[in-house]
């Protein structure tokens, strides 16, 4: 492979236009990044940020416009061309092969380690160690990707891009899966790195936009609506420009309730995919009308907990009492019928059937009900009415109700899932990372809906790594660490510091 190590002193995208069937994804966008600059690309979901970056990486071909590096026009026909020019991108949806190890995933792009008859994994391992040490990003090279949590996978992605020698980094929401501590570390790291390379990063989190970027570019509906220097603008200015209106994330300020316990987890033991106990004698009680935030670094048993409660994972021992009935190891059907609502972690693969239309996804759990079917035929009119109603009520921005759900943006997919789960009138709701990767507008909407449900007396288990989300919504906060509940705090006792320490595994926060 021929690699040029010339510095990228300037990168410019000029008049970029890209059309997808029915959508103008990029509308005459021009932007410039100079050497050592950090550009924050912000905008709501579906604003066209990722499309723009995919064009830059050669994954999509622009319909119009050109890209210049150091003043010379370049044509990227494939990502290879972009790599050779020194660009590297960490995608929001992880570009990892699940049935291969971390080492193999990185070797896949590390062409120096390729000889025709032998793959030099030792060389790749050295390179990973070097990068891990240099940046303090540790990964287990021999773990399979499918065994890793989302947070860990993100780390692998970062290590991969750095290993492959990127000199111009494009990060698509790099911190969306990281813990607050990791995010802070990453920001420090990226700042340090910006002295030797330029960075474009896509983000919804205005605080990190403020902390990290020199320049800011705001996209709305595929067009650039604002470009300027970061330090001249406050987060609320940026938020307003992004959404087109003032945003104020809702807070749970109702007095804590004293409802009866509705979900009672007793000495729960559940195994992970790797076969060890992911939950060890876990105990937790959630009452009706309260939101319990489950805080923790991802990979500490959150996924296993949500799956076990929903009947998607075998419970080795222990009880899950749901309104007094033990639902451990019952079928998902039984659990859904009992009134459980579930917003899963993987919205694209678990929450919807991507190739099904939006209206079909909205009745996935109810296709057999009299409301939507008769004599085993679907009642199309009722289904369409249901979809149209929910589309309006939940502000789902789709061209129509017949589009494939998978073609919607992340925020709208999440609204489809939320609409389905809430409209079924559940007695309990488990929301796993409900606003991960969503923009402010969508996050605000989803939080409002959750608080609304709380007011109606429904118990909610909110799994999140976002401390702001947990602190905004929860009545009580449970911190999970290595499959056990470290501590349950009342909202008034919980703050970023105390939670951060508990999440790191220190039980008694007085000692630190």
């Amino acid at each position: 492979m021929e690699v040029t190590h010339k510095k990228i002193t300037s990168l410019r995208m000029e008049h970029i236009t890209k059309r997808f069937p029915g959508v103008l994804a990029s509308d005459d966008i021009t932007l410039t990044v100079e050497e050592g600059e950090v550009l924050a690309l912000v905008g709501e979901n579906g604003a066209g940020k990722t499309t723009l970056m995919n064009i830059l990486m050669g994954l999509y071909q622009p319909d119009e416009g050109r890209i210049l590096i150091n003043g010379e026009e370049v044509h990227f026909k494939s990502p290879n061309d972009a790599f050779d020019a020194g660009l590297g991108m960490v995608h929001q949806q992880y570009m990892l092969v699940p049935n291969m190890t971390v080492l193999e995933n990185i070797a896949l792009g590390y062409k120096q380690a390729w000889s025709p008859i032998k793959l030099d994994l030792g060389m790749v391992r050295e390179r990973i160690n070097e990068i891990s040490k240099k940046y303090g990003l540790f990964v287990d090279p021999d773990a399979y990707i499918w065994q890793l949590s989302v947070g860990e996978q993100q780390r692998v992605e970062l290590v991969k891009t750095l290993c492959l020698g990127a000199r111009f980094l494009i990060l698509d929401e790099p911190t969306s899966a990281l813990t607050p501590q990791e995010t802070d570390e990453l920001i420090v790291l990226l700042k340090r790195m910006s002295s030797e390379l330029s960075i474009i990063f896509i983000s919804h989190k205005l605080q990190e936009v403020k902390d990290l970027s020199d320049k800011i570019a705001i996209l709305r509906h595929g067009a650039m609506v604002f470009e300027g220097t970061t330090k001249d603008h406050s987060p609320s200015d940026i938020a307003a420009l992004m959404t087109g209106h003032e945003v104020d994330l809702p807070q749970n300020d109702a007095p804590s309730c004293n409802g009866t316990p509705v979900l009672d987890l007793k000495n729960l033991n559940v195994k992970s995919d790797r076969g060890f106990l992911a939950l060890k004698d876990l105990n937790l009680t959630i009452r009706g009308g309260e939101i319990v935030g489950l805080a923790g670094v991802s990979g500490n048993g959150q996924r296993e907990l949500a799956e076990a409660i929903n009947g998607l994972r075998k419970v080795e021992s222990g009880e899950i009492l749901f309104f007094g009935e033990n639902i451990a190891n019952k079928t998902p059907y039984h659990i859904i019928e009992a009134g459980m609502g579930y917003i899963p972690e993987e919205r694209n693969t678990e929450g919807i059937v991507p190739s099904f239309s939006m209206k079909e996804n909205l009745i996935l759990k109810d296709s057999g009900r009299d409301e939507f079917s008769k004599h085993s035929f679907l009642k199309n009119k009722a289904i369409e009415k249901n979809a149209n109603d929910l589309r309006v009520k939940f502000d789902i921005r789709s061209p129509n109700i017949h589009v494939a759900a998978g073609s919607l943006s992340g925020g709208n997919i999440q609204k489809v899932i939320l609409a389905r789960e809430i409209s079924r009138k559940p007695k309990f709701l488990i929301a796993v990372y409900p606003i991960r990767g969503l923009d402010l507008g969508a996050a605000e909407f989803i939080h409002k809906q959750l608080l609304e449900k709380r007011k109606e007396g429904i118990g909610i288990l909110l799994v999140s790594e976002e401390l702001d989300e947990i602190l905004d919504l929860s009545d009580r906060v449970a911190v999970i660490f290595k499959g056990q509940i470290q501590k349950v705090l009342d909202r008034k006792d919980a703050n970023r510091r105390s939670l951060g320490i508990l999440m790191a595994g220190v039980k008694d926060d007085q000692t630190v």
């Binding site: 990502p79 290879n80 092969v97 699940p98 193999e104 896949l108 390729w114 499918w146 995919d273």
Partner: protein
């Protein structure tokens, strides 16, 4: 004892066509393409393999060189067929199941037609004889079972570790596994997904062609329309059976072939057992084992059957 030695020494060469074809199919599937047309490529291989020694090698003193040429032609045309299949399902993204059935019919039909045109009726060829390994083949019991076969038998079993090494230890194998599991990830890191799929299809096609030629040159020493007899489809099933792993695939091929040898032995021994059931035995066994084998979705090629389209947004 003799009975068992017979079954084993018969079953092992039986397994070779299946083994070679399914190792080829394994590369196809690992790259995300399942080729149901394996049967058709095998038929072409079987015809071409015997055509060369039959037409130009006729009466010559050294049939060996023509046999090698026949094998090479079978592999070459097999690779070509594999790429032709790639043109349909990779470039034009046609549904793989349907295209595969088409290829199967095309291959079997073409081989039969050409056979009638160039050869006419049933003709036997000298084929490739056995090559007992000196000394080793003299060992009692083990000798006849393992060391008294034709050269392709030994080669086929050498393919197993070779395929394993290629798949898990070389950059090409890494690329094949990546494009068959998460083509989008492979693409994002600069791997040309479709190119790798074409390569895998060429390898798979060449091996299918070789497997066909083995049947006509080593096993039957002739060609007929029914020579493949569904082995191409069994090979596809064995890849699932073996969870896309060369060693497990070998196990499957041996199991099936030993069952077949057993049913022949049962018939040959004149044991009072309805032969219809005996003939069914190997197939029933494959179905039963497939039904009871554990799912291992996590390790298989999850993008199997899906054409890759970079700009498709789902």
């Amino acid at each position: 004892m003799n009975f068992i030695v017979n079954i084993l020494s018969l079953g092992i060469p039986f397994s070779v066509a299946l083994l070679i074809a399914s190792l080829g199919e394994m590369f196809n599937q690992r790259a995300g393409v399942f080729n149901l047309g394996c049967e058709g490529i095998m038929a072409m291989g079987a015809f071409l393999g015997m055509l060369v020694p039959y037409s130009i090698g006729q009466g010559g003193p050294t049939p060996g060189i023509y046999n090698v040429l026949g094998l090479a032609l079978a592999m070459g045309v097999g690779a070509l067929f594999g790429m032709l299949f790639g043109f349909v399902v990779v470039t034009f993204r046609a549904p793989q199941g349907i295209a595969g059935i088409g290829l199967q019919m095309f291959g079997v039909g073409t081989a039969g037609t050409l056979f009638r045109h160039f050869v006419g009726g049933t003709q036997s060829v000298p084929g490739i004889g056995n090559l007992p390994i000196p000394f080793l083949s003299k060992i009692p019991i083990l000798g006849p079972i393992f060391f008294s076969h034709n050269i392709l038998v030994y080669l086929a079993f050498l393919f197993v570790p070779t395929a394993w090494y290629i798949l898990f230890k070389t950059p090409w194998g890494l690329r094949v596994r990546a494009v068959g599991t998460n083509p989008r990830a492979a693409d994002s890191i600069g791997i040309q997904v479709n190119k790798v799929r074409y390569q895998a299809l060429a390898v798979g096609g060449a091996l299918a062609g070789l497997a066909g030629a083995y049947l006509s040159l080593c096993q039957a020493k002739m060609f007929s329309d029914e020579i493949i007899a569904g082995r191409g489809f069994i090979a596809v099933a064995l890849v699932y059976f073996g969870h896309w792993h060369p060693v497990k695939i070998m196990g499957g091929a041996l199991l099936f072939s030993l069952a077949q040898a057993l049913q022949l032995a049962i018939q040959g021994q004149g044991i009072n057992f309805p032969y219809e059931f005996a003939v069914m035995l190997p197939y029933v066994m494959v179905i039963v084992v497939l039904a009871f084998s554990r799912e291992s979705q996590l390790l298989g090629p999850t993008a199997l059957g899906q054409p890759f389209n970079r700009e498709k947004r789902i």
